[in-house]
C-alpha cells in the first residue's frame, strides 16, 4: 500500500499534521470517533486546540481537555452519557483553564453548513431568548428582510475548521472513505480546510465511486488530506454497529479520571505505552 500518497505510515505521524492552535472539528460518538488519533494527539503534546464538537462530544473531548490540549471548546454538550460525569472537562471549566462556547446542536450543524457553502453566515430559527445567545458575542440577530412585519432571526457566522477528524470503517484504493449515512462527516469535511481520517483498513479491492450504491456512502478523496490505518481505532468507543463500546474500560476511565492524579495515571497506563511500543 506504499503507493498511496495519501496514506500516513502511523497514527502518530497523522497526529503530527495537527498544529498547535488548530481549529479541529470532531463528530459525536455515533459517527465514529478517532480515539487512537486522540491518544496520538495527546502523545504529540498538541496545544491550544479550538475543539468544535459536531454537535456534542464525550470521551474524546474530555480526554483532550484533561491532557491540556484544548484552549477553547465549542459544543452543545460534553457528556459521557450513562457512564458518568466528564470530570476533567468540569474541572478545567471551573478552574478557567478552558474557554467554552456553549451552543445548540442545530446551530453547530448550520454554522458548518455555512462553512461548507463558504457563505459568511446562516440564518437559524429558535435561539432568541436563550442565554446562549447572550453569552456568545459572535451570533447576531437581524430582522428578516423578507418578512412583512417584525421577525427577528439569528445569524450564525460560518464555522470553517482547519481540520476535521474522524474514524471510519475503510478507505478504498483511491482514498475515498466509506462513511455510510453519517453525512455530518461530509459537512464537517467540506467545511474544513482538510480532513484527517483513521480507518480500520484500506481496501485496495474496492472503488467506492464505481457504483451509485457505494458512492452514496463515500466521502470523496478530494476532501481527505491524509489517512492512517488504526484497527479498532474508535476503542474504547464503538464504531457504529461494527464493534461495541468497551463499557468496562470506560467505567475504569471514569473511576480514574475523578482526580488529576488518577487521570495522569490513566494517560501513563493507556495513552503513552502505545507510543513506546512503536
Amino acid at each position: 500500500m506504499t503507493e498511496h500518497q495519501w496514506l500516513e505510515p502511523t497514527v502518530d505521524s497523522l497526529a503530527r499534521l495537527v498544529p498547535h492552535g488548530a481549529m479541529v472539528a470532531v463528530p459525536a460518538d455515533y459517527s465514529g470517533i478517532a480515539m487512537e488519533l486522540t491518544r496520538a494527539l495527546i502523545r504529540a503534546g498538541v496545544r491550544d486546540l479550538h475543539l468544535v464538537a459536531v454537535p456534542v462530544t464525550g470521551l474524546q473531548g474530555e480526554m483532550l481537555i484533561g491532557a491540556g490540549c484544548v484552549k477553547t471548546i465549542e459544543t452543545s454538550a460534553v457528556t459521557l452519557g450513562e457512564y458518568g460525569t466528564a470530570v476533567r472537562f468540569l474541572d478545567a471549566l471551573k478552574n478557567g483553564r478552558i474557554a467554552i462556547k456553549d451552543a445548540t446542536c442545530p446551530a453547530i450543524h448550520a454554522a458548518l453548513q455555512a462553512g461548507q457553502k463558504d457563505i459568511p453566515f446562516m440564518p437559524l430559527r429558535g435561539i432568541i431568548g436563550s442565554d446562549l445567545l447572550a453569552k456568545r458575542g459572535d451570533w447576531k440577530v437581524i430582522e428578516n428582510p423578507f418578512a412583512t412585519g417584525p421577525d427577528p432571526i439569528v445569524l450564525l457566522p460560518a464555522l470553517k475548521p482547519d481540520i476535521a477528524i474522524f474514524h471510519a470503517p475503510y478507505a478504498d484504493a483511491d482514498g475515498n472513505v466509506f462513511i455510510g449515512r453519517r453525512r455530518e462527516l461530509v459537512t464537517m469535511a467540506q467545511a474544513s480546510r482538510t480532513t484527517l481520517v483513521t480507518v480500520e483498513e484500506v481496501r485496495d479491492d474496492v472503488d467506492l465511486m464505481s457504483s451509485e450504491e457505494t458512492a452514496a456512502g463515500a466521502l470523496p478523496a478530494l476532501y481527505v488530506g491524509a489517512v492512517a490505518v488504526a484497527p479498532r481505532g474508535a476503542w474504547p468507543l464503538n464504531l457504529w454497529d461494527r464493534y461495541p463500546v468497551d463499557e468496562a474500560h470506560i467505567r475504569q476511565y471514569c473511576e480514574m479520571a475523578r482526580s488529576p492524579e488518577g487521570f495522569q495515571r490513566y494517560l501513563a497506563d493507556v495513552v503513552y505505552p502505545r507510543h513506546a511500543a512503536e
Partner: protein, 246 residues
C-alpha cells in the same frame, strides 16, 4: 398474576397517551422512558406512525446526518419531542447548562443545551420530562435559560411545551396564561406532595384527577413487545426495569 404497575410503566403509558395522533415522534439521547412511550403509541396507532429514537439503528428514519432531525423539525415533520432540564421554572424555561456561581464557572455544570434552544420553538408538542420532582429541579427561576418557555415576544415559534411530566404528576402548560396547571397526580401521590416539592407557582383546580393507568392488555404489551423494542437502544434500562424481556 399481574405485577403491580411500576412507576416507569405508568410514565410510559402516560407518554403514549400524550402522543396520540402524532405522525412522527422523535426521542433524544438518554431517554428510555420517552422512547418506550413513543413505541407504545406507535404500536397502538391506527395510522402509519414514525418513531425516531436517537441512537437506534432500527428506529431511525434519517439518512441525511445529524442535521436532519433539526431540519425535519423546522419543516413541521416532527410532531413531538422530549426535553428535560437540570432546572425547570414556572414559565417553562429550562436550564441544561449549570446552576449557582457565575457562568461559565457555575457551581454545578450539566452537559449542555443540546438541541433544546431550537427544538423547543419548532416542535408543536414538546413534552417536558423530568423524573425527579423536587424543589432543586422545579425552581422559581432558572439560573441559565437554555431554552425559554413561550413568551409574547413576536419571535417565530410554531412549537412549545404542552406540559411537564414527573414522577409525581402531569402539569399541562397553558399557552394563554404562560403557566403550568396541575392536570393529574399519579396514583399514590397527592396535590400536597406536588406542592411541597415544587418551587414555582402553578394553577391548581379544586379537584385534580388521578393519572390514568394502563389496562392489563396494554401493560402486557409494554412488558413484552415494547420492552424488547426499546432494549435495542437501552439494554441496561430493560435489564433493570423489565428483566423478563431483557
Amino acid at each position: 398474576m399481574t405485577q403491580a404497575i411500576s412507576r416507569q410503566e405508568l410514565l410510559i403509558f402516560t407518554i403514549s397517551r400524550l402522543l396520540e395522533g402524532c405522525r412522527h415522534v422523535a426521542v433524544g439521547a438518554s431517554s428510555p422512558i420517552p422512547g418506550a412511550g413513543a413505541l407504545l403509541c406507535q404500536a397502538r396507532a391506527r395510522q402509519r406512525m414514525f418513531v425516531t429514537v436517537l441512537g437506534s439503528t432500527r428506529h431511525n428514519f434519517t439518512t441525511n446526518g445529524g442535521v436532519e432531525l433539526f431540519d425535519m423539525a423546522a419543516q413541521g415533520r416532527v410532531d413531538a419531542f422530549f426535553l428535560g432540564g437540570g432546572q425547570i421554572d414556572g414559565h417553562a424555561n429550562i436550564n441544561l447548562v449549570g446552576a449557582g456561581g457565575a457562568y461559565p464557572q457555575t457551581q454545578v455544570r450539566w452537559p449542555g443545551s443540546f438541541g433544546s434552544a431550537y427544538l423547543y420553538y419548532l416542535v408543536p408538542r414538546v413534552i417536558l420530562f423530568r423524573e425527579e420532582h423536587s424543589r432543586r429541579v422545579m425552581v422559581p427561576q432558572v439560573d441559565f435559560i437554555s431554552a425559554p418557555g413561550p413568551r409574547n415576544d413576536g419571535v417565530y415559534r410554531p412549537g412549545g411545551p404542552i406540559g411537564l411530566l414527573t414522577n409525581l404528576c402531569w402539569f399541562a402548560f397553558d399557552r394563554q396564561r404562560l403557566r403550568f396547571r396541575l392536570d393529574s397526580v399519579h396514583p399514590g401521590h397527592s396535590v400536597e406532595e406536588v406542592r411541597d416539592n415544587t418551587g414555582f407557582d402553578f394553577d391548581c383546580p379544586t379537584n385534580v384527577p388521578e393519572t390514568p393507568v394502563p389496562d392489563p392488555a396494554i401493560l402486557e404489551l409494554i412488558r413484552t413487545r415494547i420492552a424488547r423494542a426499546i432494549g435495542e437502544t437501552y439494554p441496561r434500562f430493560v435489564k433493570q426495569v423489565f428483566p423478563a424481556a431483557a
